[in-house]
């Protein structure tokens, strides 16, 4: 029983995924285009916040917003982009609002790394993102 409690006590730490200097400096930065799940990734790939794990999505193509949240919104990431990502290499600013996750900054400049028919891959020093095409 104690082992179970010890494991459970670690869960919130994994879920919130504290920001690390390791990730901040971009050391060990993973290639975002290798991921497939829509969601948010710390640059080192240690912290993920993706659709399969979070149960609710919200997208507003006109306002260029995308949000992932859990059932009581104790954890969410809401991204608002300044323009529609349409071309690889395009630089886009994004404002991030979040709760229950701690590896993010509120404002980031992202670069479009990949686009396919349904998804867009964006990369930055602070967070990598895969979103549905607006």
């Amino acid at each position: 029983m104690r082992v179970i409690y010890a494991l459970l006590s670690c869960l919130p730490a994994f879920a919130s995924c504290a920001e690390t200097e390791y990730a901040e400096n971009g050391i060990g930065k993973k290639n975002i285009t290798g991921y497939t799940d829509v969601g948010f990734y710390s640059p080192d790939g240690v912290c993920v916040f993706t659709e399969p794990e979070q149960i609710q999505t919200a997208i507003n193509p006109k306002r260029l917003t995308y949000r992932l949240q859990n059932s009581d919104q104790s954890k969410y990431i809401h991204a608002k982009f300044t323009e529609k990502p349409v071309a690889i290499g395009q630089k886009i600013k994004a404002e991030l609002s979040f709760q229950g996750v701690s590896f993010l900054k509120e404002g980031v400049e992202m670069e479009v790394a990949r686009i396919d028919g349904e998804k867009v891959w964006l990369s930055s020093d602070n967070v990598d993102v895969i979103i549905p095409v607006f």
Binding site: Y5, A58, N60, P61, R67, S71, D72, Q73, H78
Partner: protein, 556 residues
């Protein structure tokens, strides 16, 4: 002119005061008490759903778990113990699993008898440690957001005393402590948007402890501190008339007009002296011996239940009802008192959890377990794997529950969902009145099983009443408060309530023009018999013409 304005303001304040003071009339709701502490996880989620209770109560021992104690003095706060206290997480998970129809009560057990100076002085370091531990507990795993009632103590007449005669209790300091505690809690509520109500208590056996100085101190805080919503009473009675006496004193002698709740009640003290009584003639007539003692019988049937061959409910019931001392139908008689004195929430012992009870009874064991609604320990499990009910209480519990006018009442941010119980007159009319006295909704029940009220303001108090259609007399009423908007982004939520699936959209911004709910692309209502499909979506259209689509997979 100024005087005229003063009179208007005064009249308005009087109305508001009367509105607040009258909260909770005629709305008795049944619940389940998980006594002792929240350390034993609430695992009986499906049983709680099946029982249709609407409250769950647990308590947590603040000094034992969360305070550093040296030489009978509080010396600090165990911050990391609070933040990693998994039973807190389990308590919250149980609340989430049960949904909005079940509200949670958390009682804080703070036995000041542990300390050399009993109740610390306001402003002392020791008292600040208690407040800090409480604040941290409320912040951990969003405890504060998941409870509806916080009780600031647990039987202080017993846990604060310095002498056994209850006369020398540290009443003045306890009164000061409660006032300061309530004010701190109110400040935290204001700062964090927490909405739970603050109660004092729980006072146990009020009519017996007439010399207690703690009871009047607690009541004075309830009556005078506007941050305290009500009083918690425990009725552990020696005779069945004690429940009436306890409530009568509180309402009539102490003049408490605020809400009352009862989070523990039992007749255990009437049963305990008989734990070693012989079975007598009943024993020989039912395959036991006449000299077998009750505690031996309980051990024997516990073994049978454990082996999968429990005795019948009829046998169990007939034993206790063969004794003249057993207070038959005490549960029903207590419930009549709760109803008479407008007891807002009533949480009796729910179950005897396998492994959670004393392993073997002796001639001195207290028979708390006989006060549970369910007990697998003695009567095993039913075909669905649920605990068999306690035949001494269960019929009375069902009678009380099924006589309720309201089975479930869900307070959303902009809507109320009321599932009517068997006690409701479905030819009646639902009336919803705002704080200023204006009736904002009036709609007939039309013999429907539920009523949905929409377009209410978030975070707002209303009086809800079921009126007799012929003369508008009040058949049932309750004061409710819609939930406040708790975030800046919309959230889609669905939950099961009494055979219906309620779909809600929370946190809608002010610039929303319209909303649509859909399952697999087909538009649905807020209330549905079932959600037949895989993907639930909400289309939120804003005034700028943009549409946000929220989607979630439906989990059965």
């Amino acid at each position: 002119m100024k005087k005229n304005m003063y009179m208007k303001v005064k009249a308005f304040l009087m109305f508001v005061l009367l509105f607040l003071c009258s909260i909770g009339t005629k709305a008795q709701e049944l619940g389940a008490n998980y006594n002792e502490n929240i350390d034993y996880p609430i695992t009986e989620i499906e049983m709680l759903k099946k029982s249709k209770v609407t409250w769950v109560r647990g308590f947590v021992n603040i000094p034992n778990l969360f305070l550093q104690n040296e030489n009978r003095k509080i010396t600090g706060v165990k911050e990391s113990a609070i933040k990693t206290h998994i039973p807190t997480l389990k308590f919250i998970q149980a609340k989430k699993a049960l949904g909005d129809r079940v509200k949670f009560i958390l009682s804080l057990k703070i036995p000041f008898e542990l300390y050399a100076d009993t109740v610390p002085k306001v402003g002392s370091e020791e008292m600040e440690y208690i407040f800090r531990a409480t604040e941290a507990l409320l912040q951990t795993y969003q405890m504060a957001q998941h409870i509806d009632i916080l009780v600031m103590g647990n039987e202080p007449e017993w846990e604060n005393v310095v002498d056994a005669d209850f006369i020398h209790a540290d009443a003045a300091d306890y009164r000061a402590f409660l006032n300061e505690f309530a004010n701190r809690l109110a400040a935290w509520k204001q700062a964090n948007g927490w909405t739970f109500d603050i109660y004092a208590g729980a006072l146990n056996r009020v009519s017996e402890l007439t010399n207690s100085k703690t009871a009047p101190a607690v009541v004075s805080v309830v009556n005078s501190n506007p941050n305290v919503a009500g009083l918690d009473l425990h009725v552990h009675a020696l005779n069945v008339s004690q429940a009436e006496n306890d409530f009568k004193i509180i309402r009539n002698q102490y003049g408490v007009t605020k809400k009352l709740i009862c989070t523990e009640f039992s007749m255990v003290r009437a049963l305990n002296p008989h734990v070693a009584d012989a079975l007598g003639a009943w024993g020989t007539q039912n395959g036991y011996t006449s000299v077998m003692k009750i505690y031996e019988y309980l051990n024997r049937i516990a073994e049978k239940a454990s082996a999968g061959t429990p005795v019948s409910a009829e046998e169990f019931k007939s034993l206790f009802e063969s004794y003249s001392w057993y207070p038959k139908n005490w549960y029903r008689r207590f419930y009549a008192v709760f109803k008479k004195y407008d007891t807002y929430a009533i949480t009796g012992r729910f179950s005897v959890v396998p492994g959670g009870a004393r392993a073997v009874y002796t001639a001195t064991t207290e028979m708390w377990e006989l006060g549970g609604i369910y007990f697998s320990r003695y009567l095993g499990l039913d075909a669905d794997g649920f605990y068999n009910p306690n035949p001494l209480l269960y019929p009375d519990f069902l009678e009380a529950r099924d006589g309720l006018a309201v089975s479930s009442l869900i307070e959303g941010q902009r809507e109320l969902f009321i599932s009517w119980g068997n006690g409701a007159d479905k030819t009646g009319v639902l009336s919803v009145t705002a704080k200023d006295g204006a009736e904002v909704v009036r709609q007939p029940l039309n013999s429907e099983d539920y009523t949905l009220v929409e377009n209410l303001a978030p975070g707002t108090s209303y009086r809800v009443a079921l009126l007799k259609s012929s003369d508008n007399s009040v058949l049932w009423e309750a004061d409710v408060k819609t939930k406040p908007v708790a975030g800046e982004f919309p959230l889609l939520k669905y939950q099961q309530v009494d055979g219906y699936t309620l779909v809600q959209l929370l946190n809608l911004p002010a610039d929303v023009a319209s909303c649509k709910l859909k399952v697999d692309g087909q538009e649905i209502d807020i209330v549905n018999k079932t959600l037949n499909g895989q993907v639930l979506t909400a289309e939120v259209t804003y005034e700028d013409g943009s549409v946000e689509t929220l989607s979630t997979t439906i989990r059965k």
